[in-house]
């Protein structure tokens, strides 16, 4: 960890003016990912701007019947907020599938979106990584890539986004509200995280001088038929090999609308509108679910250690959709997979 300067921001405007003034500054809120990476010398900001004093920790109703979650609401507060557990249980479940209670108590909603993609080589400064040191090469593609991407990767990077929360936000089509020097704007969650392409060092479409202020959940909440299914190498406190956020609207056995997002498989939470569209009008059942899985995974390509994730993802998608259709969402504490 290099030495750095520490300042506090009093409000959003102050935060923005401070980040503009100092090119190598970063915002800090929960710090759970940033401090970790600073200790690894992967992140080396010379100034941290503490935004925990900003008034961004409310959850409010929106005029369109949704909820607006302040960027600083801790993950655990969000997961246990009654409005979330009642109306957006998919989001609550996804949050509780991730990390540990301590980390969820610390991590902020905005920070969860901004956690860096994960890869053994990104974390190890003795190895090449295009994300950490552009142009140095990708250590993972020919190296140890069990955790890495099967979808949307590029020659330069095969890292995956590790968040569980973001997978649910993606399925729920949340909107990210940001503020910047030119004012405020809203980014669809599908557009928030990026694929690596030739610039894997850039994880999101948030500009350096912008700040997340809130996440907005639309009114459509999928609170009846949903499931968040996370498959990992131990039963808790591990990153996903594959996770699936599945949400359905079913009327008289037929699917009226569907949402599907995958975690642990790509540089961003992976949505597949084609697959969702394909489910609409179908009878909720294994046949339709298998077809949806095929559509999502048709472009999937794995590497030496992670090819199994393609088949694993296929099965997990089918199961999560079955759980959603049956109204038996996966529990995050009972480890039997229903």
């Amino acid at each position: 960890m290099i030495d750095f300067d520490y300042v506090r921001a009093s409000d959003v405007g102050d935060a923005l003016s401070q980040i503009t003034k100092h090119q190598a500054a970063k915002f800090i809120a929960g710090g759970t990912n940033l401090i970790d990476l600073m200790k690894e010398n992967v992140e080396q900001p010379t100034r941290l701007i503490d935004i925990t004093g900003l008034p961004l920790n409310e959850i409010q109703e929106t005029q369109t019947g949704g909820l607006k979650i302040g960027a600083l609401v801790p993950n655990s507060d969000l997961a246990y907020d009654q409005r979330i557990t009642r109306r957006y249980p998919l989001l609550a479940s996804a949050i509780l599938a991730g990390a540990s209670p301590q980390l969820r108590n610390m991590a902020s909603t905005g920070g969860n979106l901004l956690q860096r993609t994960r890869c053994l080589y990104f974390y190890d400064t003795a190895t090449p990584c295009n994300k950490r040191r552009p142009g140095s090469g990708c250590g993972a593609a020919e190296g140890f890539n069990r955790m890495n991407a099967i979808l949307g990767w590029s020659e330069s990077c095969i890292a995956v986004h590790p968040s569980d929360m973001c997978v649910a936000l993606s399925a729920l089509e949340a909107v990210v509200h940001v503020a910047g020097p030119k004012g405020e704007r809203a980014i669809k969650s599908a557009d928030f995280h990026r694929l690596p392409g030739d610039t894997p060092e850039i994880d999101t479409n948030l500009a350096r001088d912008e700040i997340i202020t809130a996440i907005e959940l639309p009114s459509e909440d999928f609170s009846r038929n949903y499931s968040y299914l996370k498959i990992r190498d131990r039963l808790s406190y591990a990153f996903a090999l594959v996770s699936v956020a599945a949400a359905l609207k079913i009327e008289a056995g037929a699917i009226k609308s569907a949402r599907l997002a995958l975690g642990g498989v790509a540089h961003k939470p992976w949505r597949a509108p084609d697959a969702e569209q394909g489910l609409v009008g179908e009878q909720a059942g294994r046949k339709a679910f298998c077809e949806a899985a095929d559509i999502i995974l048709q472009g999937a390509v794995g590497f030496a250690h992670n090819r199994f994730k393609i088949e694993l993802a296929r099965r997990a998608i089918v199961r999560a959709l079955e759980q959603a259709a049956a109204g038996t969402p996966q529990s995050q504490s009972v480890k039997v997979i229903v």
Binding site: T32, K39, L48, S76, Y80, P101, Q102, N105, S331
Partner: protein
């Protein structure tokens, strides 16, 4: 081995960013300390406040040994910058016993042999204090899941679970 190594000439010093004055309450006592921004709460406790009960197991949020309570909530002190906790109320393992009486969880951990080497123990106990205060985990499965951020390499999990369940049921032994 003899003497000092070959003298190393020090080039001109760069400067480190200055220390900041921080005040927080630790285990009910007001503590003031000057720290650089890069000092984590964990290192502040262990190296500056002589509170070594809080343990460093991984320093990266991957083991839970450094768990403390900040304003009543369980958090990882290794990923917390001390300067960001100015004014906070911090409880560590050293602050759980009151007037010489062990906290019920401390008593239960002894009675149920909820540790072997003892190194993860302060984190386990602080985490369990947080768990009970949260009031959400009720069943064995829920307690296991909610304690999964605290690794015990000695493998005392069944005994830790027994200790927590005993306290939740109102007995320590």
């Amino acid at each position: 081995m003899q003497g000092r190594p070959q003298a190393t000439s020090h080039p001109p010093e760069r400067s480190l960013l200055p220390k900041l004055e921080i005040a927080f309450r630790v285990n009910g006592v007001e503590r003031r300390v000057a720290l650089r921004p890069w000092t984590t709460l964990l290192d502040a406790l262990r190296e500056h406040l002589d509170l070594t009960g809080t343990k460093k197991g991984c320093d990266h949020g991957q083991c839970g040994a450094c768990t403390v309570l900040i304003n009543g909530r369980r958090v990882l002190s290794c990923l917390t910058l001390a300067v960001m906790k100015d004014g906070a109320e911090i409880t560590t393992i050293e602050g759980l016993a009151q007037n010489g009486e062990l906290h019920p969880l401390q008593t239960a951990f002894i009675a149920h042999d909820g540790f072997q080497c003892g190194y993860c123990t302060p984190g386990q106990i602080c985490s369990a204090v947080g768990l009970i205060a949260e009031g959400r985990a009720k069943t064995s499965d829920e307690i296991r899941e909610s304690m999964s951020g605290n690794i015990c390499r000695c493998g005392c999990y069944p005994n830790i679970l027994a200790a927590i369940e005993a306290v939740m049921q109102g007995s320590e032994t």
